[in-house]
Symmetry: C3
Subunit: 119 residues, 3 copies
Amino acid sequence: MKEIKAFIRASKTESVLEELGNLGIDGITLGEVMGFGALADLRSARYSISAVKRYSKLTKLEIVCSDRDVHAIVEALRETAYSGQPGDGIIFVSELDMAVKIRTGATGDQDFAIKREGT
Amino acid sequence: MKEIKAFIRASKTESVLEELGNLGIDGITLGEVMGFGALADLRSARYSISAVKRYSKLTKLEIVCSDRDVHAIVEALRETAYSGQPGDGIIFVSELDMAVKIRTGATGDQDFAIKREGT
Amino acid sequence: MKEIKAFIRASKTESVLEELGNLGIDGITLGEVMGFGALADLRSARYSISAVKRYSKLTKLEIVCSDRDVHAIVEALRETAYSGQPGDGIIFVSELDMAVKIRTGATGDQDFAIKREGT
């Protein structure tokens, strides 16, 4: 099982969620963070409280998925989050020891896989 | 050392924190996120800004712990976060290379273990 | 590639960001969370909604970096986030399978390394 985290432009949130829904990905969490340095788009960056650093609003997505779906999800994220301007964000992939659905207790890699026709 | 992340119903936050406190778990962080898809409880889901996707408010907990305590913590989370309705959330466990307490510099697995009587 | 997460006192945010900028670290995200237990500074802790648990406001930083830079970044975080009082926070380091810059597609360890003179 893998965890995918993506830090994307806040303005891309809607189209990314739409595309992940189309892919059949179920179970996405979304939070709001600030991006500094290469993660700020200086054309529209804001000043933080201290006025020392500029930042951009980013959306952080967290997705748990089957190993076999990592590539498709990363590609979908890259295509829909891309603007070509600095500040488009980063995607991380890491290994999970375990994921458990609280209601059902399901822990299998297939329990977190994208449902495909005929599977 | 392990990291446990739990995405739970916002309404279960208090009872989960209480139970983790009873277990002797020290050092929990809590943030607020939105859950989509299987992480939304459609009985009470809200519409996002775009009105395309419905979401539920979730609480995200992050806990660093000793390897030996993973099972007890996951069980406590599952029991206290469970409602039996869709949208109860997910728990992830992953391996940490290292954890450091900023004040003391402590990095040992035992420094993050639940203190038990006689240990 | 490594991911470094730091949960630090909110009041240390500015000096930590400044120091990470001086080190040449590019691409930091910042979010706000609540810290309970050992992560609360009881001198200034607030009561949560339920008035059962006290918490402190923490800043959560996430940084992706080259393996070779982990030590320098962890040291910089520890030095600048330190106050010597309980509630100074924790730093986690974990392994990433992959990190991808959305705009450029860059995925190499060196693409996330601190740029040094002569490199």
